[in-house]
């Protein structure tokens, strides 16, 4: 909406007031003056006044002159209201201004009412104070231009030395800490109650184990943060009363790469608190060594947060019950501080904060990869069977090391121990015997000590010479075998021919194969037959093909199919990324009630990372704004933007969030239609950051 449209859409009484106040004195309007008391304007008059007023208000010099004519208190009140996005509850705003700047509420009411007489600030009732003080969006834009820097978060101007707070301990790169944490979960039994709470003893052990990495003082909170992140991202789940690392989800997480992981963390932060995106960006705008007084952040955050609350009430006319701490909401700094993105300092005037180096890299994305893993960093295997894995080690290597060696200590360099039990545990979870030594020797910075090689070889013994595999065996009569093979090939199901008429397929493909076979006119029994050779009935139903029959030499791919891959077939491809992770999130029961397609009978819980979410309009707007700021694409589930658009899930590059007539929408480039379209926020059925 332009200024012109804004003025044109005003009630005629107000437009007349504008005309009387600004056009008569400032510039002569082309339209003839109306008799006093007349409040009905012709379309032509409206157009003329609106055009003139728009021209006037669009002139920064003129606006500046007007502002200069106002008192300092008026400036403060305007800034306060602009901080709360142009809308403030009457009582709240007066209290806020009093609390932040002194004076009495009555005096502030006078200031605001004087701004009201100049038609900068409006109210929505004739109460005193009114229910809301409002600066219309277009006027707010005009004012924002004038107040510029004062509206943003400003660094401190003081010359005093601000000392890094002692409670700001060493902050580890996110990935290193999270993978170490998951390794611990993998190697230790963490019991959880039916409500999903971890037993106190386990919590204390965890907290103490990680204290040297996380620093002392905040361990419990950092622990909670880690637990929250890994559960939110679906990297671990509750199984049989224990919290266990989800190996497949972690494989996907590691395969996603640093940039995708950064996006996952960001979406986690935004999911926790949509205003975090704005806050991080404000902090990132400052110089690296510039501190911000905590008080200043609190004020700014409080106003913005409350602006959001009043926006919901005023614009959407919905009564929103805010959480406790409503009138003094604390900025959600803790969640980013615990992640190591923020550091705090102490000066003579109180606490300060700023983004840590990790935080700056995290927001900008530049050098984040280097923080997670650095070239040339490798672990070291010592002759005493100790393995030291320093920060900066590739996360996949770090995770794999945890499969083979037992984690003893976490710190700037994690300490692991190779033992008979840890090596056998690694082998039992799928690592092949020859892989164990190859991995250690390839990834170690130094040559593997002879005694270590010799001892591990001894531990491995004859492991892996005979293996069990999990698969479904699909059999067919010789007359149908060729048709079955065709179906498997057409469906892209990986399979291994055990004979001409017997195929091994991944268990996960059972449904797919059944449907495909049915579609081709074959009607296999949907239940899986238990093949028991000792059972008389079983012997009657021997597999039709002989397993030891030679394979058809005309199909060389059969014989080259590695036996080991039978196990791997079932695993979702590591490259599946967030999609795969989201699916796994569903499987593990961590399905958010707000995830699209969620089972609403399931107790509401956090959605898995990457899930398509049905969010409230405010949260949807926050996600869109965050995506604009971070230059990320969105995937939007939307009915239809126009007749030619069939609707559904579309990839969109968001451009701008706008509001008009009490409804919000955002414009963006629709990749499917390849043009710019507008999406009404209310009509969005699901949204997520695009991969």
């Amino acid at each position: 909406m332009s200024l012109n449209t804004f003025f044109a859409s005003l009630p005629h009484e107000i437009l007349v007031q504008y005309r009387d106040l600004y056009l008569d004195g400032e510039r002569g309007s082309a339209a003839p003056p109306l008799p006093a008391g007349v409040v009905t304007l012709s379309d032509e008059q409206v157009t003329t006044y609106a055009t003139d007023l728009a021209t006037l208000f669009a002139d920064p010099k003129w606006v500046r002159r007007r502002m200069r004519g106002m008192s300092r208190s008026a400036h403060v009140a305007l800034v306060g209201l602009l901080h709360s996005q142009g809308i403030g509850g009457g009582t709240w705003l007066l209290q806020e201004l009093t609390q932040s700047h002194g004076m009495s509420e009555d005096l502030w009411a006078e200031v605001l009412h004087s701004l009201g007489t100049e038609l900068w600030v409006f109210g929505n009732s004739r109460q005193s104070p009114p229910l809301f003080y409002v600066i219309p969006a277009r006027l707010a834009e005009v004012l924002q231009h004038q107040f510029g820097r004062r509206l943003k978060l400003q660094g401190t101007q003081t010359d005093e030395e601000i000392r890094l707070s002692p409670d700001t301990n060493y902050r580890h790169p996110l990935g290193f800490s999270i993978i170490s944490f998951l390794t611990y979960l993998r190697q230790n039994r963490i019991r959880v109650t039916r409500k999903g709470e971890i037993f106190k003893k386990n919590l204390e052990e965890l907290s103490s184990f990680f204290s040297s990495l996380w620093g002392s003082g905040d361990e419990e909170k950092i622990l909670e943060w880690h637990l929250d992140v890994v559960q939110e991202l679906g990297l671990c789940c509750h199984r049989e009363g224990f919290l266990v690392a989800d190996d497949r989800a972690i494989e996907g997480f590691l395969a996603a790469g640093p940039d995708a992981r950064r996006t996952l963390y960001l979406s986690y932060f935004l999911h926790r608190e949509p205003l975090l995106g704005w806050l991080l960006e404000e902090l990132h705008r400052l110089e690296p060594d510039e501190w911000v007084p905590l008080q200043r952040i609190r004020t700014l955050y409080r106003r913005r947060y409350m602006g959001g609350v009043f926006h919901r009430r005023y614009v959407r006319q919905s009564y929103y019950l805010p959480p406790s701490g409503f009138y003094d909401p604390n900025p959600p700094l803790e969640v980013i501080q615990l992640a190591g993105l923020l550091e705090s300092g102490l000066g003579s005037e109180g606490s300060y904060v700023r983004l840590s180096e990790l935080g700056r890299r995290f927001i900008s994305g530049e050098g984040f990869q280097e923080l997670e893993s650095r070239e040339g960093i490798q672990f070291m295997v010592q002759p005493n069977f100790e393995v030291l894995a320093p920060v900066g080690l590739d996360l996949s290597v770090l995770w794999k090391l945890g499969e083979l060696a037992s984690l003893q200590q976490v710190d700037r360099a994690n300490t692991y121990t190779l033992s008979r039990e840890s090596v056998r545990e690694g082998l039992s979870t799928g690592l092949r015997s020859e892989e164990a030594l190859t991995f250690l020797s390839d990834e170690s910075a130094t040559e593997l000590p002879q005694n270590v090689v010799s001892t591990i070889t001894d531990w491995i013994g004859s492991h892996g010479e005979v293996e069990l595999h999990d698969a479904l065996v699909l059999s067919a009569l010789p007359t149908r075998a060729a048709a079955v093979r065709k179906v498997l090939v057409a469906e892209g199901v990986q399979f291994e021919s055990l004979s001409d008429t017997v195929f091994a397929i991944p268990r996960e493909k059972q449904e797919t194969v059944l449907k495909a076979l049915q579609a081709k006119g074959m009607s296999p029994a949907p239940s899986v037959r238990r093949h028991d050779l000792a059972d008389a009935l079983g012997t009657q139903h021997k597999l039709p093909g002989r397993l030891d029959e030679p394979l058809d030499r005309n199909e060389p791919q059969r014989s080259s199919f590695p036996v080991k891959s039978l196990v791997m077939l079932g695993a979702p491809a590591a490259e599946g990324g967030k999609e795969a992770m989201a699916r796994r999130g569903f499987r593990t029961g961590k399905v958010g009630a707000n995830a699209v397609g969620a089972d609403l009978s399931v107790k509401p819980a956090a959605a898995g990372a990457g899930a398509l979410l049905k969010l409230s309009p405010a949260k949807t707007i926050s996600v869109v704004k965050a995506a604009i700021r971070l230059k990320l694409d969105l995937e939007v589930l939307y009915p239809s933007t126009e007749e030619s658009d069939p609707g559904g899930l579309s990839r969109v590059t968001p451009i701008e969030v706008q509001e008009a007539g009490g409804s919000s929408f955002f414009s963006g480039h629709h990749h499917g239609l390849d043009r710019e379209v507008e999406f009404r926020i209310k009509r969005i059925h699901g949204i997520r950051l695009a991969t």
């Binding site: 005493n384 069977f385 100790e386 320093p390 700037r412 000590p449 002879q450 010799s454």
Partner: protein, 572 residues
């Protein structure tokens, strides 16, 4: 986050320091760390040091400041230092020197003065029940009176409170004794102190200052701790009491004293189970000092500490100092004290008592450095795995747990290995160590290697040791009893046939037997039965020895032949 990959050090949040050995700056960093951190583990690639309160106070007593420590850590570290660690270092180092023990005033000769420089600490001291009991009131706030007899106990009490006492109360000189080191030993060899031995003595005496004259010198096995003891005697010119670990050690001390100083037999006494001589220099054992007829009765020989006007007491292997000796040491704090050891780590964790009662660490030199300079032999550990014959293998599988150990230990195939090893080391002096007498007797007979066991009388033992030293015997068979008490300067090969993993000290001591430089490298063989409990024990040993920095190799003993035998039908 700071990251400087070229640096050699990782400073961990728990106070441990990981030092990369292969880094270009390793030696500089090592020399720096040695001043304020204890070396905990030294495997091949990364050495682990630890900063503790005691290590920092040791450093502070040597004049090292917190800023210097922190600056050095920053200089060598790959990553940022944990901020809390920086604060901790400052706080702990600042505690040293806050409490000083001063000599008595002339008008009150029976009372020392404890000067507590900080009022808050003084208030803590004044309100501590144990401290109050050990003191005799205060002269003024922060200046307390301490009876002479409580000199040791007040230091222990305050150290437990977290405040090390700087002892500047001085020492009694003791009865004088003219001692000097010979430039040529009695046997006619040239003799002079090595540079690091000079440095150790200088560090201990602190140039004769009132803060010197007590403390511990840490030197690795074979680096000449005894020589440092003799040189300290010569520097102090006073009657000396020497406490050693066993009778053989006592005799070695006496032999060294006579060999390298001007003292004569009538000036050096042995106070042991067999002889009770008290002479200007008396050498005794911890065992005899802690001997008593029953657990209720008094220690019979503690009077030795006051039997002469000793000006110097030397505690050999101070990490083995028994509790009763700590107690008596607390009462004789006016005597100069020198502790000698290869490690400050005590199995009983009483490092703090060593600090309080013997004194802070004054000198330490990394054994790798001595090895590099050829003062200590480079040791190689080799584990030889040998299989059981088929019938024994069957017997082993069916045996009870205890019996299994014995079957594995007495595996006859080990004798083949010994024969081969003796062929490999025809020019070396070899010790064969074992646990089971039957097996050792067999070895002794088979290889013509005299056997020393617990039953061997001391004179016969000494005679065999003498012949071994002189080269008249090349191979000696010894039972477990010989672990501690023997000292065989020229042995450079040890073959361990059997024996479970002992304490860390025992293992170190056993290896220490072969660390004396003798021109060639030292080799320590452990012959173990493959896939048996013995191999598990050997794994523990392997962990310990590799942690100590020894090279460790595992050799499979002719597996092909064993496989051939295994493939034969048992009842063919």
């Amino acid at each position: 986050m700071l990251f400087r990959p070229e640096n050699p050090l990782i400073v961990q949040g728990d106070g441990s320091l990981l030092l990369e050995v292969d880094n270009e700056r390793h030696e500089d960093a090592r020399d720096f760390l040695a001043r304020f951190a204890e070396l905990e583990k030294s495997p091949q690639h990364i050495h682990t040091y630890r900063i503790t309160s005691l290590s920092l106070w040791n450093a502070a007593s040597a004049g090292l400041g917190a800023h210097e420590v922190v600056a050095g850590l920053i200089e060598f570290s790959k990553y940022d230092l944990p901020p809390r660690m920086v604060d901790d270092i400052h706080e702990k180092v600042a505690r040293f020197g806050k409490v000083v023990l001063l000599p008595p005033r002339p008008d009150d000769p029976g009372t020392l003065l404890l000067d507590v420089l900080e009022p808050t600490v003084a208030r803590k001291v004044a309100s501590n029940k144990k401290a109050i009991a050990a003191m005799r009131g205060a002269v003024r706030e922060g200046l307390f009176r301490v009876p002479l007899v409580n000199r040791g106990s007040i230091k222990q009490i305050l150290l437990r409170m977290g405040y090390p006492v700087e002892d500047r109360a001085g020492f009694t000189d003791g009865a004088s004794l003219h001692v000097h080191l010979r430039q040529e030993t009695r046997s006619g060899d040239k003799f002079s102190l090595r540079k690091y031995q000079h440095q150790a003595i200088a560090a201990w005496s602190r140039k004769g200052g009132d803060d010197g004259g007590h403390g511990v010198v840490v030197l690795p096995c074979g680096a000449g701790k005894t020589i440092v003891g003799l040189a300290t005697m010569a520097a102090n010119q006073t009657q000396t009491l020497i406490l050693a670990t066993g009778v053989s050690s006592v005799r070695q001390w006496i032999e060294e004293i006579l060999e390298r100083t001007n003292l004569t037999e009538d000036q050096v006494g042995e106070y042991s189970g067999t002889q009770k001589q008290i002479r200007p220099v008396t050498v005794t054992t911890y065992q005899i000092l802690t001997h008593r007829k029953s657990t209720e009765s008094e220690f019979t020989h503690l009077g030795l500490f006051s039997a002469a006007d000793w000006g110097l007491i030397i505690y050999d292997e101070v990490h083995l100092l028994p509790a009763p000796v700590f107690r008596i040491t607390a009462d004789i704090q006016a005597r100069r004290r020198l502790g000698l050891t290869a490690t400050l780590v005590r199995e009983d964790g009483r490092e703090a008592d060593v600090f309080s009662l013997i004194g802070p660490k004054r000198f330490d030199v990394p054994w790798r450095e001595l090895e590099r300079r050829g003062f200590v032999a480079e040791a190689q550990c080799i584990e030889l795995r040998v299989g059981l014959s088929t019938p024994l293998s069957l017997a082993y599988k069916n045996a009870e747990a205890r019996k299994k150990i014995r079957i594995a230990a007495e595996n006859p195939r080990k004798l083949e290995v010994v024969a081969e090893l003796l062929n490999r080391h025809v020019d070396d002096k070899v010790l064969i160590i074992g646990m089971y007498l039957d097996q050792l007797e067999q070895v002794a007979k088979l290889f013509n290697a005299p056997l020393i066991t617990g039953k061997t009388p001391n004179p016969q033992r000494d005679e065999l040791y003498g012949r071994f030293r002189r080269g008249e015997i090349r191979v000696l068979t010894v039972s477990k009893v010989a672990n501690f008490s023997i000292d065989l300067p020229d042995a450079n090969v040890a073959i361990q046939l059997s024996g479970t993993f002992g304490s860390r000290q025992e293992e170190a001591q056993r290896l220490g037997r072969i660390l004396r430089p003798s021109g060639g490298d030292a080799v320590f063989y452990s012959v173990v039965t493959r896939s048996s409990r013995e191999q598990e024990f050997a794994h523990n040993r392997q962990l310990f020895l590799t942690e100590q920095g020894y090279n460790y190799l595992i050799e499979e003993w002719d597996p092909a032949e064993e496989e051939r035998e295994a493939s034969q039908p048992m009842f063919a």
